[in-house]
């Protein structure tokens, strides 16, 4: 008895209350999104709001179970859970049901489970188990290979299920690695590559080559303060470009602009390397490498974009970047979603008074696009409140994760924060046209048992660890 009361007292109630608020708000919006004149009874289990009520009930039951059961099973059986989920993913790949072009459902009666949702929990646990292991240190190739393997299995299988969105979620775990020793510049460089990817799609190669060259020269000045040498190399590169251009004009040669720019660029890298060797400047080696990698990256982006990505991914990205405009085709979802949210105005149209969401203008409005209902009915005011609640919840979980004394718990906590953050940011971002459409749910809001249960389990395992951390001493 004593222990039970301790557990309740030690539970982080701020996090719990935020969780409950989000779940309740989520249900209210599913009710608003699905509501029609024919179905008014909130306990109508043929409707999604009725079903979601049942899923919420089960979620609460799971939370209770986790809080009142032993927390040691998670570190102990982390790999087992992981193994089981990988098998489940494989099974889905073979026996699963196709929904929205993704084969990610295991049918159970008239319902279905999405193992990918639970794979996030299991992978976070496995990653925590690996990285909290005795003597594990995130340095050296071998440690990264191990991490890569743990992430690689589920990501690979989920990609094979054609559920790119869920696979991308695992990318968010880079935050966990950052916390546990991944150098900050890697994070920054990763962010830069994402930016570069977008820039390549918008601007032509020549512009980007000039941009990268200038950026490198600026970085050179920033680190070495050798203004004169920077000036010389710029002048030299410019001179070579001009020379090639003049020669090509003189001899009527058809030389593409990329070549005119690439030749001096490669020359600069070579000169840079000699320069670095002569002056014993380590930073210049790195800068030369940076230039080489980024140039190579931007040259290959178009290839990757066209060969590796599916047509619908290309279209969604192009639509977002304004390269293609097709509001009734590929852009339909986002366009309708923006119309719904935008029409909410500052105060919103009032609860249950939304017209866009109610009359099915927004596809997937109770699942991936549930935020439209929030935006339309509750307006900017309500949307901001919801966003702030989610952010507060994440920051609270971050605080909880950081205060864990146990490595396993802390790493796992960071995993939970990363995954929830990615889901929330990408989901809301896509409904308002900030990021391309990626079919992942908004945690606690979107209709669906699997995601609600997975997120609930994920959060409550962390809260259980947090509640038990006093007991460790």
């Amino acid at each position: 008895m004593q222990r039970k009361s301790n557990i309740l007292r030690n539970l982080d109630w701020i996090a719990v209350i935020l969780y409950i608020m989000l779940v309740v708000m989520g249900w209210l919006n599913i009710y608003a999104a699905v509501l029609s004149d024919e179905h008014r009874n909130i306990f109508d289990f043929s409707q999604r709001y009725g079903k979601q009520m049942v899923w919420i009930g089960f979620a609460f039951l799971m939370a209770f179970t986790i809080v009142y059961s032993n927390d040691r099973i998670y570190p102990a059986f982390a790999y087992l859970f992981y193994g089981l989920i990988v098998l489940a993913l494989l099974a889905t790949l073979i026996f699963g049901r196709v929904v929205n072009a993704s084969k990610s459902w295991i049918p159970i009666g008239s319902f279905g489970l999405q193992p990918a949702e639970f794979a996030k929990v299991a992978t976070a646990l496995a990653l925590a188990k690996l990285m909290s292991g005795y003597g594990f240190k995130l340095s050296g190739l071998w440690s990264y290979v191990k991490v890569g393997l743990v992430l690689g299995f589920p990501v690979g299988i989920i990609l094979m299920q054609n559920d790119t969105g869920s696979a991308l979620v695992f990318g968010s775990l880079i935050l966990v690695l950052y916390r546990e020793g991944l150098p900050g510049w890697v994070l920054a460089f990763a962010a830069f590559l994402v930016l570069l990817f977008i820039l390549t799609l918008i601007y032509n190669t020549s512009t980007l080559l000039i941009f990268l060259f200038v950026l490198t020269v600026f970085l050179f000045i920033f680190y070495t303060r050798r203004y004169k040498d920077a000036f010389r190399i710029t002048l030299g590169a410019g001179g070579v470009s001009l020379l090639i251009y003049l020669v090509s004009v003189l001899f009527h040669l058809k030389v593409s602009l990329s070549v005119i720019l690439l030749v001096p660029l490669v020359l600069s890298v070579l000169i840079g390397l000699i320069y670095a060797y002569a002056n014993r400047l380590k930073i210049v080696y790195l800068l030369a490498l940076f230039l080489l990698v980024t140039v190579g990256f931007s040259l290959s982006t178009d290839y990757v974009f066209e060969r590796v990505l599916d047509v619908h991914h290309q279209k969604r990205i192009n639509d977002l970047l304004g390269i293609e405009n097709d509001p009734l085709g590929w852009g339909y979802n986002v366009n309708q979603s923006k119309i719904a949210i935008g029409s909410g105005g500052f105060w919103g149209k009032g609860y249950l008074s939304g017209t866009q969401t109610k009359f099915n203008f927004v596809p997937e409005q109770s699942t991936d696009f549930i935020f439209c209902t929030v935006g339309e009915e509750w307006g900017f005011l309500g949307s901001t409140v919801v966003v702030i609640l989610i952010a507060s919840f994440l920051l609270r979980l971050l605080k909880i994760a950081e205060r864990q004394t146990e490595h396993f718990a802390r790493i796992y906590g960071y995993g939970v924060v990363s995954i929830l953050f990615f889901h929330a940011a990408i989901n809301i971002g896509m409904t308002i046209g900030l990021v391309p459409v990626i079919g992942i749910p908004l945690p606690f809001f979107s209709y669906g048992g699997s995601s609600l249960w997975a997120f609930t389990i994920m959060v409550f395992i962390l809260l259980k660890f947090d509640a038990e951390r006093y007991g460790a001493y």
Binding site: G184, S343, I390, L398, I432
Partner: protein, 616 residues
């Protein structure tokens, strides 16, 4: 140190999280608060505006008899997205169409401007009720179709097609200039339908419904707060007497020409017949386009409203005008006598027919003496006080125009022509300045030459004589929705002739009809035993063939109730055809019975269509 680095890392993660959500809130602020375009898009998404078409106003005759009413038809709309493949043959036969017509309609519907597979577009227009009733029973078989009730014109009697005009679909040009109209609206294209379009059309209403993404109606918007009801068009009370109009059209069958009858005191047009005519029903409904083409190609020009658009020489009827001008200018006196020996022999000369000679003014009208009027005309033009032919002609022209000749009378019908009264400038150009005199233009004395009038102007002239010097602009609508029309149609227009001179003319016209046998009266055929008709014949020479038979008259002499002009193209002497027709019309209007069945039969059986261009 290590702890500090790690707490820094937590801070970095926290900053990333906060930064991302701040960006999201900023974007939300932009699309929800700053950019208002999404609100319009939302309204366009959800609201569907369904036009409520009003019924056009009715057109009644002067006694309140409804001549033009409305009948229901049904436009079939389709929402392409909701259409599932169906039995085209059954569909077509239910609607009374061929399968090909249905296929064409589908293709045409999808080519419409602003076509969207999610929107209801008109597929088949104006389905008659009898077909629609059959279709409606089977409509459950065809998904994706909707019905829009409309009304089209219905005519109680197959008469007065030119007067009423017809209703058609509004064209793109009109839509651009007049914002009231939208594609698919009806508009009056000619006749009264056109000139009273604003009164007849009523006001469209609108019903706003909320629809879902499949364009399915989900209920009315804001409980109909912004809906508006269609207001039916106003009813017009016409000046036309339906019985008289019908009788006139009957008399004019198998003849080309026109009858215009006016109530002299008010300017109200009692009947306006243009022959050949057509059944106005032909230009209603689905077959309108086909029928219109046929009518348009007809060599007898049935669509052409001769009453206000045909230009005829007035012929001998114009003599009364010259007589009045002569009296007014003091060059002619009632007792002035001229001898006639078969014509006026000076200059080119003008022939005359056989009649007692010499004649005074009244007799000159009674017997219609050409010679007499050549003298009168020359005396006017060459009056010494005027100083020159040009001045004399100008004075003459001014008098003529005061009768409403050479200008539009501004009847409330579209496309009225103003006729021709030649000018000094015209003759100066035609002959050269100084190259013409009263003899050169002597044809004008007997209403020939460069003079053209419409049958309406002729009727107006005889109304002016009946009124002894004034006319009220003729019009065909006397009241709109019970309220009488504007004062333009109540104003008296006085001629430049003093009223006292009209008595001589009236006496002459009386004798022309009611003179004793052997006195040379030209229109004795028109006489009625108990109604004193005053009339004047005309035989208008024209370049198109045999002479036009012309007659105008008013009756009763003591208190004129009807003034009438009759033109029968290429029919010969005025007395032969036009005079009996006018006489029968007057009898019909004043007595409502025909006491001379032989005369009536003589007119009804006359076929005068083949006399064109006989005289070459």
């Amino acid at each position: 140190m290590a702890v500090k680095v790690e707490s820094n890392k937590r801070l970095v993660v926290a900053v990333i999280i906060v930064a991302v959500f701040v960006i999201i809130i900023a974007k939300l602020f932009y699309i929800q608060v700053i950019d208002s375009s999404y609100k319009f898009s939302a309204a366009n998404n959800v609201l569907r505006y369904i036009t409520q078409y009003p019924a056009r106003g009715l057109i009644l005759d002067r006694n309140g008899f409804p001549m033009v009413t409305n009948k229901p038809v049904y436009d079939l709309l389709m929402v392409k997205k909701q259409v599932v493949p169906f039995d085209t043959l059954e569909f077509a036969s239910l609607l009374g169409l061929t399968v090909d017509q249905v296929r064409e309609a589908f293709v045409a519907a999808q080519k419409q401007k602003g076509y969207s597979p999610r929107k209801a577009v008109t597929l088949i227009k104006q389905i008659p009720p009898e077909y629609f009733a059959r279709f409606q029973e089977k409509m459950y078989k065809f998904s994706g179709f909707e019905v829009q009730p409309r009304t089209v014109r219905s005519y109680t009697l197959p008469i007065a097609a030119h007067l009423f005009g017809y209703v058609g679909e509004v064209d793109d040009g009109t839509i651009k200039t007049e914002p009231y109209y939208q594609s698919g609206d009806y508009i009056g294209v000619s006749g009264l339908e056109r000139s009273y379009e604003k009164e007849l059309r009523g006001k469209k209403g609108i019903k706003i419904f909320m629809v879902d993404v499949h364009n399915r109606i989900k209920g009315s918007y804001e409980h109909g707060k912004f809906d508006s009801v269609a207001v039916p068009g106003k009813n017009l009370t016409s000046t036309i007497d339906a019985r008289l109009q019908e009788y006139g059209e009957k008399l004019m069958q198998n003849k080309i020409g026109s009858i215009v009858a006016i109530e002299p005191k008010t300017g109200e047009v009692l009947a306006m017949i243009s022959s050949p005519s057509y059944n106005p029903e032909l230009l209603v409904g689905r077959d309108r386009a086909t029928n219109f083409k046929l009518l348009q190609q007809d060599s007898l020009k049935p669509i052409f409203n001769r009453s206000i658009m045909a230009l005829y020489p007035p012929g001998s009827t114009f003599k009364v005008v010259n007589a009045l001008i002569g009296l007014q200018e003091g060059v002619l006196f009632p007792e002035t006598r001229y001898s006639c020996y078969g014509g006026y022999t000076i200059g080119r000369g003008v022939g005359c027919h056989n009649h007692p000679s010499p004649v005074n003014l009244i007799q000159s009208i009674q017997v219609s003496c050409n010679t007499y009027y050549c003298h009168v005309f020359r005396n006017i033009i060459d009056k010494r006080e005027f100083g020159s032919v040009e001045n004399g002609f100008s004075v003459w022209k001014k008098h003529v125009e005061s009768f409403g000749y050479g200008n539009k009378l501004n009847i409330d019908l579209p496309h009225e022509l103003k006729g021709i009264v030649p000018s000094v400038a015209f003759y100066n150009k035609y002959f050269r300045k100084g190259g013409w005199n009263s003899l050169t233009i002597i044809s004008l004395a007997i209403g020939q030459g460069e003079l053209s009038v419409t049958p309406l102007q002729m009727a107006n002239l005889v109304a002016t004589i009946a009124n002894k010097g004034y006319y009220v602009a003729p019009h065909v609508v006397k009241a709109i929705e019970g309220e009488s029309i504007d004062s333009d149609y109540r104003q008296k227009h006085y001629t430049s002739i003093e009223p006292k001179y009209f008595d001589y003319i009236i006496e002459g016209m009386d004798l022309a009809v009611n003179g004793p046998p052997g006195s040379g009266s030209t229109a004795r055929i028109a006489a009625l035993p108990d109604v004193r008709i005053c009339g004047k014949t005309g035989t208008a020479q024209n370049p198109h063939g045999a002479d036009h038979s012309v007659f105008f008259a008013f009756a009763p002499k003591e208190d004129p109730k009807i003034a009438i002009s009759v033109y029968v193209e290429n029919a010969g002497f005025g007395a032969t055809w036009a005079a009996p027709i006018a006489s029968l019309m007057i009898e019909k209007y004043l007595k409502d019975t025909i006491t001379r069945p032989d005369l009536e039969r003589y007119i009804l059986e006359a076929k005068l269509l083949d006399r064109r261009a006989k005289k070459k």
